[in-house]
Every structure is written in C-alpha cells, then in structure tokens.
Amino acid sequence: MLLSTETMDVDFVRKVEALSGTSVRRCFQCGKCSAGCPMATFMEHPPNRVVRLLQLGQWQRILAGRSIWYCASCETCSTRCPNKVHLASIMDALRKLSWDAEGPSKESYVQLANRLFLQNIRTYGRQYEMRLAAVFNVKSGQFLKDLMLGPKLISKGKLKMFHQKNKNMIEIEKIFGRIEEMRKNGEAL
C-alpha cells in the first residue's frame, strides 16, 4: 500500500465525517467495536479495520468488500466505543457513498436490489414485487433463487401477478426529477 497525499483520499473521509457527524481520526484502534460486533466473523474487514482504512483514505478497499453490507446497524459498536466514534453512522455513510463510488460494490447484490427497487417505483409509482424478483434473479444470474416461495406468497396474496399503477405518476416523476436535479447540483447524495 503506497501512502502519499495522492493515494490518501482525504476528501472522501471528510464526506464520511460530514454525513455521519462523527470523527474518523478520533479512533485509536482499541478494537472494542470489533470485539462486540455480531457480524464481524462474516466480514473481511472487521469494524475497527474499516475505520483504520478510512483513516488512511483507502475507501476503495472498504467498498470492494462486503463488510458495510454485512453491518446490521445494531449499533453495539457505537454504544461501546470509548472515543465516541459513531461507527454505525460511518457504516451508513459508507453505504450511501457507495452509490456513486466506482468499485466492485456497484455490482454487489444489495446495490442491484436497491436500484431495481427504485426503478420499479419510478415506473409504477409503487412496488411490483413479481418484476423485482424476476429481474433481480436474472440480473444476478441466480435464476431459481427462492423460486419455491413464489406459489406460497401468491396463494396468500402477498405477491400479485400483475402490476397496479399509481394514479399520480406525474407527481412521482417530479420527485425523481427534483432529486436528480439536486444530485447534479451536489445538494443531495
């Protein structure tokens, strides 16, 4: 890992600090967050290392992994941190920032699910679960995933065969348009 003012992305860290309202530099790597984290065993970077990589401005390494998506936001880390580093907020901020950031997390399933979810809202004005599930399975390459749940859900009326459209599509499109405008101007993420 080559460290220099170029390879350490301080701007990204500032964004994380602004979004989470907590200091990244304050962490002195005691490891208490990782000690209590229920998900740490599943993460390639345990919570303390996520913060350490952030301190060194190495966000690509964090977003390349699944740690931020395994975080259950249980806030054990934030509650126990001796230094008042709100780690759960940092994880939140990282998840938000991963939307635009280049890197493998763009291809991650969570990101894909989020995108499809919003696409559906924009198209129908409400959720169309059948389409969401079908497109997700196709795009993620796991065609038969959870297929056997379908009949059960349909029989209970939880999964509609056909979509229902919202009446106020113009208003919804306006909301999306406004957010896109804000993102362009840097007023929103």
Binding site: M1, L2, L3, S4, T5, M8, S23, R25, R26, F28, Q29, N48, R49, R52, L53, Q55, L56, Q58
Partner: protein, 665 residues
C-alpha cells in the same frame, strides 16, 4: 552476666500462622543469659514498643532481641525504642523469623523449631554486642553540582536560594545543556529558550553560585560532608574577566567553516566562538583543534581586534580544589547514533536505515534545531541535502529503544511525546505537508500528555501508523520507507522527502569514568543507580551524592526539574545540621595484625580505606597500615572477608559473634 530480653512478634498472623510463638518464647526463655521472654501481637505498634521499654526498665535488661520481620523493615524502630528506654541502641538485634522462616515454610513443627534456632543464634550474638557511640562528622555547607543543563541549573538555584554556596561545573563553554537546543516543549508548546535563558542568567548572577564552564571534574576525594573536588578548568584562551562579550573576534575570525555541534553540525561557526547567541557566560572559547593560530602559528586576528585585550593564547588548564559537603550529579543524556558502531561496542548501528548515510535521515535533536527560530535555518524546516521544504515527512519511533538486538532494551520515555510535538511543529510550518509516524506503542503517561498526542492526530492531521519500518533507501531524491500497518495487516510504502528518527536516550559520554571518580554505581547502560528505586530515588548508595535528571534514566523536562529540586532538598537536609550523625556499624583495623597488604582497599566499594603510618617514639616509620575512615565506611564487611591476616572487623559482625552464632546451633 547479661540479662537479655527476647520479644517474639506475631506480626498479626504473618508469623503466628506457621510458628508457635508461645513455644518459641518459652523455649528461648530457658537459654542461659535470657532474663525475660515474651510474645506480642504487633511488636512494632505503640503498645508493643511500650512493652519493650517497660520490660527494659523493670527487668533491668542489658540486651534485647526482637524476633520479628527483617531488620531492613524495623531495626531502626526498635533501636530507637531501646534508646529511649536508656539502653545503647546497638545492644538491640533483630531475629528475622518472618521472611526467613514463617513466610517460606508450611510445616508448623519444623518452622517453630527453626524459629527457636534463629532466635537462639541472635541471643548468642547479642551477648557479644558492644556499646557503640554514634559517629559524628562535620559538614562543609557548600555543594557541587556537576552538569549545567536544566537539572543542574534547577538544583544549583534551589540550593543557592537556600543560602548555601554552590559550585556549578559544566563541560561545555556555556550552560544550558540540551534544553537550550530545543525549539518548543511539550505539552504546552512554549518556547524552550524563552523559559530556559532566564534561568541561565539567574545562575550567572546568583551571588552564591560559582560557575565553572568549559571545565571537568578531575578527581574527587573525601566523604559525605567533606569532599575535596579537583576541577580542571580547560584553557579558554580568552580571559573571562577582561572579555566584554562584544563578539568582534567571532566576526573577524577567518576560519569560519567549522561544523557547529550545537546545531547538530547543520550550521557553521568560527574557531573562536560561543555555542549559541544566548550563551551564559557570553565569553567565547578558542577551539584549539581547528584554530589556524594553534595549528600553524600564523593568524592571531582575534587578538589584534580584541579591544579589551582578552584573547590569551598562552592560557593553560587550571586545576582548582573545591571543598564541598554534597555533590549533585546532573550530567544528562546523549542521543543514540544510528551510524555504524566501532567493533566491540555492545550497541549496534542500523544497517537497515542506511547507517546514517542518507543525508535527509536525521534524528530528533536535529529536527529541533531545524524547527528552532534560533537554528541554522531560522526556523524553516528544510532538507539538509538540498534545502528544499519536505512535503512528505516520516517519523520513526523506537529507534534504538526497546530493541534488544541492538543492545538497548529500555524505553526512552520522551520520544512518543516529542515526536507528537514534531508533527505539530511541522504542520504549523508546512501547511501543505503530510506527516506520518511509525510507532509500536504510544506511551503518554503524564499530565495532559495523552491529550497532546491525540491532538497531533485529530487536529494536526498526523497519520500515525502502528507498525515498524523494516528498511529505508534512497530513490532519486526521495527516501523510500518500507513499513507495515498492523491494524490493517498490510505493508506500507511511503516515498518521503525527509525521515526523522526518534533515537534512544543514552547516558552522556564518559558517564562511567565520572562515576568511577565519584565512587557511585551505574547500570549496564551507564545510567547512574539510585540507592532504592522507589524510596530513595535521588540518592546514590554512596552517601552525600545525589542524582538529578537524565543521568539516572531517561526523563522529560518536568520530571527532571522535579528530581533536581528533590536532590536540592536532600542536600539542604544534609546541610540543616552542623554535624552529621552516622551509624557506627563500621569496620575497624587491628593495627597490630595489619601487614599493610591493602587488599581491603582494592575491594572497598566506598573508597574508605586510607593509609596510616605507624612510627616509633623517635619518629622512625615502622609500618604502613590500613585505616578505615568511619565517615566513608558503608559497613558492608567486604574488607573483613578479604583480610588475609584477619585484622579488620566490622562492629556488630565480628568473627567472634559469627562463631558464637554458629556454635549455638
């Protein structure tokens, strides 16, 4: 016939748990010469001592044995009690049945038997104890302070302010020591010179302080209260009385290309110089090794330009004898050098850091000079190689310290804090620069210290990397630093413009030779040893010699100043009395038996053995025998064990007594 009183202590349950104290008391009571024996729960308590005093008076006891803890613990207590009951204190002995018996045994029967034997031995020994009068020695109420750094200055000022004369001896041409070299000090970042120079001036102006700069200790004789110290005042080649400190000689000196050691060889100075502008005294010194006049005989410019005619090429070293009563040693520290060490030195260099051959790899003190407003760059942080401002700077902690392989296993204590300070100074001076610190542990135990360290990270944006550096090498005009971040678990590489090494604190060069002159002990690193790590931290084992500052171990400024004041307080305690009382447990020479081989002098750790001439009535010399100076003798008994003719005996531990103890078994 002696009437011995024996007092067995339970020490709460410490002794009585494993030793049947009542039985010991009963058994010992039957020994010949024992007039009284009893046991009590806490002999050292007030009622316990009362019991002892009452028994001495009522039973008309002639000797006392207290069977309790180690004499190191309570011998003084009981001897004082015995003295207040009207008996000579040295007729009281302690039998150690706690550390030597109850604490180390489990079987009650065997422990009790052993306790009886221990007490029995002491009973036999105490029978042969003699009445010893306390030794009194006169005290010369002047003190010597060796070293004019912050420790020596503080100690000298404290003693002098108390009204006692002080002789301050400094090896360099000016007092001030390392503190005068520092730029700012942690944890408040106040300028070192600003707080140091007023103290230096105070020393120079104090009517009670006699200042010898450019001087060294030649040799030391005598003992507590009565030292004779010979000071070698090196030839300055400038008359201190005539010199006005105008500095014309320095500006006119044609030889100006001598590396200035005060600036860690970054700047240049003339052959006639003062180390730094605020030097005290402000009298120049001619560096005879580099002066053209002394090398070739031709020049003499300084003498020609000197208005008051103070330059004197003929001046010679002077030896001055100073009588003093106490000595404060404050010789300070030196920094470990990563350069390759000569063969035979136990301390190794750093091949992996280029052995000091990369010009932009500097040590912490050099960085101080760069950051100092009075330094060679006027306070600008510039690379020694090309004078460029470093934009990426790497600090490496624990260089030499905590490196057993290199020969030093201790922590140098100050580096964590001064490195944090360096990152701050760097950030204040180079706004677009980035500082990195490689560290193993950050040790910040001091008032406001941890907050200071955290500030360097949280506010001054230093990047601290836990992990060490394995190698440094030059690549173009950059220095490649190869380290690791153990929190992430990856190798880290930084292309730095400058690298600052926090090198280990070592004792001043020649610390061992000075210790030998003074007769004080030192550890394997040549730090001076205190008498007791916790309870006598500023005293040497040699009476009358006290320690202040980093010569005893790595120390920061607050600790050094505290220790200096503590040493001064110890000196004042000594000076509070006109005569000094010493324990009379000293060796005595039986002159009739002494053959004058002086083996005893060779082994004596205190230097207490002197020569004494024995003459007949006509004044003819018959023989030279050993004489133990009771003022110096520490009562260790080494001479007694060494003497081939059995002519030296330590009072209280005579051969007769030891034999009696063995025979009682």
């Amino acid at each position: 016939m002696s009437r011995i009183g024996v007092f067995i202590c339970h020490c709460g349950e410490n002794i009585s748990r494993t030793v049947d104290v009542e039985r010991v008391a009963a058994q010992v009571g039957t020994l010949p010469g024992v007039a009284f024996s009893t046991d009590y729960k806490y002999m050292c308590s007030d009622p316990g001592q009362g019991l002892l005093k009452k028994a001495i008076q009522e039973q008309r006891l002639s000797h006392v044995v207290v069977a309790a803890c180690s004499p190191r613990m309570h011998e003084k207590t009981f001897r004082k009690a015995v003295e207040s009951a009207g008996l000579n204190p040295f007729l009281c002995e302690m039998a150690n049945i706690r550390e030597h018996c109850s604490w180390v045994h489990e079987d009650r029967e065997e422990a009790t038997q052993k306790a009886i034997e221990i007490v029995g031995m002491m009973v036999e020994r105490v029978k042969k104890n003699r009445v010893l009068p306390t030794i009194t020695v006169p005290v010369t109420k002047r003190s010597l302070v060796i070293g004019g750094g912050i420790a020596g200055i503080q100690a000298a000022l404290d003693i002098a302010d108390c009204g006692h004369e002080v002789v301050l001896v400094e090896r360099e041409p000016s007092i001030g020591g390392h503190m005068a070299q520092l730029s700012e000090t942690f944890p408040t970042l106040d300028c070192s010179q600003c707080i140091m120079t007023p103290k230096m001036v105070d020393v120079a102006n104090h009517p009670k302080i006699k200042l010898y700069t450019y001087a060294e200790i030649e040799h030391v004789e005598g003992y507590i209260g009565n030292f004779q110290v010979t000071v070698r005042k090196k030839a300055r080649s400038v008359d201190e009385d005539k010199c006005t400190g105008c500095g014309v000689c320095m500006t006119k000196c044609p030889q100006k290309k001598i590396p200035n050691t005060f600036d860690r060889n970054l700047g240049m100075r003339p052959a006639i110089y003062v180390p730094f502008p605020q030097a005290v005294p402000n009298t120049p010194v001619i560096d005879r090794e580099n002066c053209t006049k002394f090398k070739t005989g031709k020049c003499g410019v300084c003498q020609k330009v000197c208005g008051p005619g103070a330059v004197d090429y003929e001046q010679e070293d002077q030896l001055i004898v100073e009588p003093v009563g106490a000595i404060v040693v404050a010789t300070g520290f030196d920094l470990y050098s990563i350069e390759e060490k000569p063969k035979g030195s136990p301390i190794k260099g750093y091949g992996e850091f280029g052995h000091g051959k990369i010009p932009d790899v500097i040590d912490g003190m050099t960085f101080e000079r760069l950051a100092s407003a009075s330094g060679p760059t006027g306070g600008k942080i510039l690379r020694p190689s090309d004078g460029r401002e470093p934009k990426q700077i790497v600090f490496i902690q624990c260089v030499g310290s905590r490196a057993r392989e290199k020969g030093i296993s201790y922590c140098s204590k100050i580096c964590c804090m001064y490195t944090a300070k360096h990152t701050m100074l760097y950030h204040h001076k180079v706004h677009d620069g980035q500082a990195y610190v490689f560290f193993m542990d950050a040790r910040t135990p001091g008032k406001s210290y941890d907050e200071f360290w955290r500030r360097s990270i949280e506010e001054e944006e230093a990047v601290y990397i836990r992990g060490m550096v394995s190698r440094l090498y030059q690549k173009g005009d950059k220095i490649v630093v190869m380290g690791s971040d153990i929190a992430v678990g990856v190798q880290v590489e930084i292309e730095a413009d400058m690298v600052v090494l926090a090198t280990a604190v070592q004792p001043q060069k020649g610390a061992d030779t000075l210790a030998q002159k003074l007769g004080i002990s030192y550890d394997k690193y040549h730090f001076y040893s205190e008498a007791h790590a916790k309870l006598r931290p500023v005293e040497c084992a040699t009476a009358g010699i006290y320690l202040a500052g980093a010569c005893q171990g790595p120390k920061d400024i607050p600790d050094t100043v505290s220790q200096a004041s503590a040493a001064a307080a110890k000196v004042m305690t000594l000076f509070a009395k006109d005569k000094l009382e010493r324990e009379p447990i000293v060796a005595k020479v039986r002159e009739a038996g002494c053959v004058g081989c002086f083996y005893c002098r060779k082994v004596c750790p205190y230097g207490a053995v002197e020569e004494k001439e024995i003459r007949d009535r006509q004044g003819n010399l018959i023989k030279v025998v050993a004489y133990v100076n009771p003022g110096v003798c520490g009562g260790c008994g080494t001479c007694q064990a060494t003497c081939p003719s059995k002519s030296v005996e330590l009072d209280g531990y005579t051969d007769e007594q030891i034999v009696a103890m063995i025979e009682s078994l």
